[in-house]
């Protein structure tokens, strides 16, 4: 029996992976070749999807991008024996894109069947939880603290300190909430974890539950990710049936249950307190802090809230020790970050590397430059609230502190590349427009400032009293930065002001045209 792997990740489904799998099955049946088609997770090489792999004696051989129309020719070339074809990329493990990465969190990406518990266990799955089950909560917290792990959602707050706060809090009930409302454009690592390695997230959250003494967890997944929702639900059922979740996990005294909750298309619910409101069945309105959610969180109880990638990093840390994780990275940014190469890029996808790598390396060496072939003009890092970086900043190392010092942010590790056709005034306007659409409306700087921001940028672009309006925009941005309740209004000025600062030529077109 020949094993053929066809990914089931959304990025593959979106380019017809289901049809490719069907076509391979049909052709194999017609040619009486015995094949087993395994729907694996994605390797994270989006430009090669649908990336079909065949198991051979030497290892897996990859073909991509495969479309339904290619299937007959692949069979003619005997791809099922790993033979050569124009779409053949040779041994998958030897591909530089994968070989040059440091995949700790995404170690199983593309290798396993996401909802196969035996696959997960065969590839070091639940090794971290097995250790945690025999540790005191405080020892787990110490391990996570020692690893230097910081919140991967974007804020970069030390995970261990957050966990310690919840651990030390006294309450009859505590919660663990996973923020899987991955709304930032240019990010998809959370989605890949949930669709591709859901048991890892379950494991990380269960470890958090044991560490803090919480017995109930929620995963808040955005509704734009229907495949992630169904995969996560299925994995929770399987894990519960096998007693990796539920009462007395693996016959220990620890109990932990998990529930998936769907978002409903509100970007603001990626903000942790708005997410809590939403989990309580309310409008996603931001809460004022303090009190911090670690003390007064879901239903008023102490709550650990972390991003998918933060929880997903924990099983490795527990299994291999804090030092193994801490060895990666630079400065105070320890470990690895799954970077997401997106937008106008030739080889988009997921690149997990230690902190310290530069944008240029990511974009040129891994990404292969722009998709269009034109020069890179701007890169937005860290989602719609992140700065636009010009070419002169592409050599900055990816590190929380370095980026902050340069008025930018690493955020969730998403990079959106723009070629030289981009109009940066249009991008700045969009940042304000997006804030106006998605603001929860609780605080004035965000609710009203964003609408005024759109108007002021329109005036600047129209050449109307340009200098005065630029000053006004700067003043408005300062007000939003200082006066907003959360990062939505507080960080919208980042893309706006970075566009004004680094690409001023896009904001004075009418004046230049008049002068010419």
């Amino acid at each position: 029996m020949i094993k053929i792997y066809v990914p089931r990740d959304s990025s593959a489904l979106a380019v017809g992976a289901n049809d490719v799998a069907k076509a391979i099955a049909a052709e194999a049946a017609a040619q009486k070749i015995s094949v087993q088609i395994i729907r694996n997770s994605s390797r994270g090489m989006a430009w090669l999807e649908t990336f079909v792999e065949v198991e051979t004696a030497k290892g897996r051989v990859g073909y991509g991008p495969v479309e339904v129309g290619d299937v007959q020719r692949l069979f003619a070339a005997k791809f099922y024996e790993g033979q050569k074809h124009t779409l053949c990329h040779g041994l998958v493990e030897e591909l530089p894109y994968l070989k040059n990465q440091e995949r700790l969190t995404f170690a199983r990406a593309g290798i396993t069947d996401p909802v196969s518990l035996s696959d997960y266990l065969a590839h070091d799955g639940f090794a971290g939880l097995k250790k945690a089950l025999n540790l005191a909560g405080s020892a787990i917290v110490q391990e996570v603290t020692d690893s230097g792990l910081r919140g991967r959602g974007g804020a970069g707050f030390p995970t261990g300190i957050k966990w310690k706060t919840v651990h030390d809090a006294k309450a009859d009930q505590k919660y663990v909430c996973c923020n899987a409302d991955e709304g930032d454009s240019g990010t998809f690592a959370d989605r890949m974890v949930m669709e591709g390695d859901p048991f890892m997230l379950i494991e990380g959250m269960t470890i958090a539950g044991i560490a803090a003494g919480a017995t109930k967890g929620f995963i808040y997944i955005r509704s734009e990710y229907p495949d992630a929702i169904s995969t996560m639900k299925k994995a929770i059922r399987i894990a519960t049936d096998a007693n990796w979740l539920g009462q007395n996990i693996q016959s220990t005294d620890h109990s932990f249950t998990l529930e998936v909750r769907r978002g409903a298309g509100a970007y603001i619910c990626g903000e942790e307190t708005a997410m809590l409101e939403s989990l309580e069945g309310k409008r996603g309105m931001v809460r004022a802090k303090p009190p911090i959610p670690a003390l007064v969180g879901l239903f008023g109880k102490p709550t650990i809230i972390n991003n998918v990638l933060s929880f997903a990093a924990v099983p490795y840390i527990l299994a291999n020790g804090a030092a193994a994780y801490k060895n990666y990275g630079m400065g105070r940014s320890r470990g690895t970050l799954p970077f997401q190469l997106a937008g106008n890029i030739k080889q988009g996808g997921l690149v997990e590397k230690a902190f310290g790598i530069t944008l240029r390396t990511l974009i040129n060496d891994f990404g292969g430059g722009t998709y269009s072939g034109y020069p890179v003009r701007a890169v937005q890092v860290g989602g719609p609230l992140g700065s636009y970086l010009p070419d002169s900043q592409l050599d900055l190392p990816m590190d929380y502190e370095t980026f902050a010092a340069n008025m930018a942010m690493v955020g969730h590790g998403g990079l959106v590349v723009f070629d030289d056709s981009v109009d940066m005034a249009e991008q700045a306007r969009f940042a304000m427009e997006f804030c106006a659409i998605e603001s929860c409306g609780k605080c004035t700087p965000c609710r009203i400032g964003s609408t005024r921001g759109v108007e002021v940028i329109d005036k600047i672009v129209a050449g109307e009293d340009r200098d005065a309006n630029l000053l006004l925009l700067e003043d408005l941005c300062q007000t939003m930065t200082d006066g907003s309740l959360c990062a939505m209004g507080g960080l919208t000025p980042m893309p706006v002001m970075s566009a004004v600062k680094h690409f001023p030529e896009d904001f004075d077109k009418p004046i230049r045209q008049a002068a010419e």
């Binding site: 990025s11 709304g183 734009e224």
Partner: protein, 163 residues
């Protein structure tokens, strides 16, 4: 003696389907979003007439139920077309010509984003990120993701929905 009826008690005799859905979630107020999702899945939209029934089941005020149903972009208080196509308008898709694609799609369907085609087949909506940013532009056809969308691909998807 006849019980005095207040405005709150006035409702149609037929049991609202939302009541059974709320019961599936144990009438827990924190499950309101899940309930609204299921109502929309079953009925195609969230009828305003269902909101008092849901509020009653969850023991929350009508204002709270209405507030939630109108806060989130997902919930439609009016019937949509048979299919909902969500076109991504976020930055990664913009970098790959998303703005032009939106214009072209609007021209092709002869509607604006937010509207439904005259034959009630398609409701076109904007979304901000589908997590397919490495193969932009992207869209979601009901619950099916589609990447590397161009006008030709869009037209063929619509053709598929028509047949």
């Amino acid at each position: 003696m006849a019980k005095t009826r207040t405005l709150i008690d006035i409702k149609s005799g037929k049991a609202d389907p939302a009541v059974a859905i709320a019961a599936r979630y144990g009438n827990k107020p924190d499950a309101l979003l899940e309930i609204l999702h299921d109502v929309q899945h079953e009925l195609g939209f969230v009828p305003e007439s269902s909101l008092p029934a849901i509020a009653n089941a969850l023991n929350i005020s009508r204002a709270e139920a209405y507030g939630v149903a109108t806060f989130y972009h997902d919930f439609h208080l009016k019937p949509t077309g048979k299919h909902v196509i969500k076109l991504c308008k976020a930055e990664a898709c913009q970098s790959m010509g998303g703005r032009n694609l939106v214009d072209a799609v609007e021209n092709f369907l002869k509607i604006k984003v937010g509207d439904t085609t005259a034959d009630k087949l398609i409701t076109l909506e904007a979304t901000y990120c589908l997590g397919l940013c490495a193969s932009a532009p992207a869209m979601m056809v009901d619950e099916r993701p589609v990447a590397r969308v161009d006008v030709k691909k869009f037209e063929s998807v619509v053709e598929g929905l028509r047949t």
